[in-house]
């Protein structure tokens, strides 16, 4: 059974690398946001698999915490962009008024 977990975790690690690559090269901000989100999800999975691999499935609640935090992070980013978008619109309007 162990090698299944091991293989799975390696596969997850590879997807983590892919997420990092996307986060690094961008090019748009949305790529990066999605990369962070995906990376968070993969970390949750990785933790879950590792806790089975190490024989201590009681650590699953850690993964739960990660999932919750990840969600909040993404919402914070959304809010940031919303306010930035409105701010830019307002600035454009102000420019146009002048």
């Amino acid at each position: 059974m162990e090698w299944v977990y091991f293989g799975t975790s390696i596969a997850i690690l590879v997807t983590m690398v892919l997420a990092v690559v996307r986060g690094l090269i961008g090019p748009t901000i949305f790529d990066r946001v999605l990369a962070v989100n995906m990376f968070g999800t993969k970390t949750v999975l990785f933790l879950a698999v590792i806790s089975f691999l190490s024989g201590r499935p009681d650590f699953l609640d850690l993964a739960l915490a990660y999932a919750l935090i990840n969600f909040i992070g993404v919402l914070a980013v959304l809010l940031f962009f919303q306010s930035r978008g409105v701010r830019r619109d307002a600035e454009a309007e102000r420019e146009a008024d002048k």
Partner: protein, 330 residues
Amino acid sequence: MITIVFSLFLLTMLVIVAVGILRTDNLFTAVMLSGIFSLIMAANFFILDAADVALTEAVIGAGISTVLFLGALALTAEYDRSPPVGTWVPLLTSSALGGVIIFATLQAPRLGDPNAVVHKHVAPWYLDRTPELIDVPNVVTAVLASFRGYDTLGEVFVVFIACIGVMSLLGRVRPRRDSIEEDEFDKRTDNLRHHLIPRVVGKMLVPFIVLFGLYVQFHGDFGPGGGFQAGALIAAGVILYSLLEGGPRGRELVPEWFSSLLVALGAFTYTCVGVVSMAMGGRFLDYSVLSHDPVHGQHMGILIIEAGVGMTVTGVMITIFHAFSRRGIR
């Protein structure tokens, strides 16, 4: 062996991400990447058998810290416009530093070496004696709350002072914002009320996050967790509510006087436990004297001080978040 393979993967990623942070001039990207940095770090802590630290790093490093950085970015600037300064001195300093460390650690014990000195001296004592002296399964909690409870007291005061500092720096609202237009502008931008899906899903999650926080608080003796992680999680629940419904509503849910009272009260509770144990004839923070049975006394002491820690951290994180969000948008 497995640990080493995973470590190789994660640590290499860590360095790549760090270089990415260094190279980008978009501060938003840097903050996003530092979120990834924290997550990798946390996963790495987890495979190094540090479950409590992994939980803390994820909640504080990837969660709270990202939110704070974003809050600060919204109030300052989005791009790093540093000129290409002469990079010789920093480059030399940091390479010298790295060189010295690599030179020094060539003789260090390898990862996981059971004969390393760190595993021989103090640590076995903690592992052997905790069941008998304190009787909680989580040795990290035992060391944190009792054997090195004085450190933890200091740590509570560190977050306390950070909260005080942020409040005295950002507490007073900037006087410049008097136009109704700007208020209107704030109302449109500081919440996600118009986005149905995040709003519904998010609001459903809030009670669960708080509940989970309470679980982490009181389960800290048995599994990974404790006051710090719980405090940060509960605060994260409140922060989520404020993100969805906007700052003013968030401050209605947890008023500012309440959160700052929580901060002081938590630190006060912790110190009081110490003072009471002094009054009852023990040393400062000696919980054994709190009850007739020393082990029972330890349990009681740990429960109370962890509650104090949880209160302070919850209060601090909420207060700091509100201080940033209330500062408004230029």
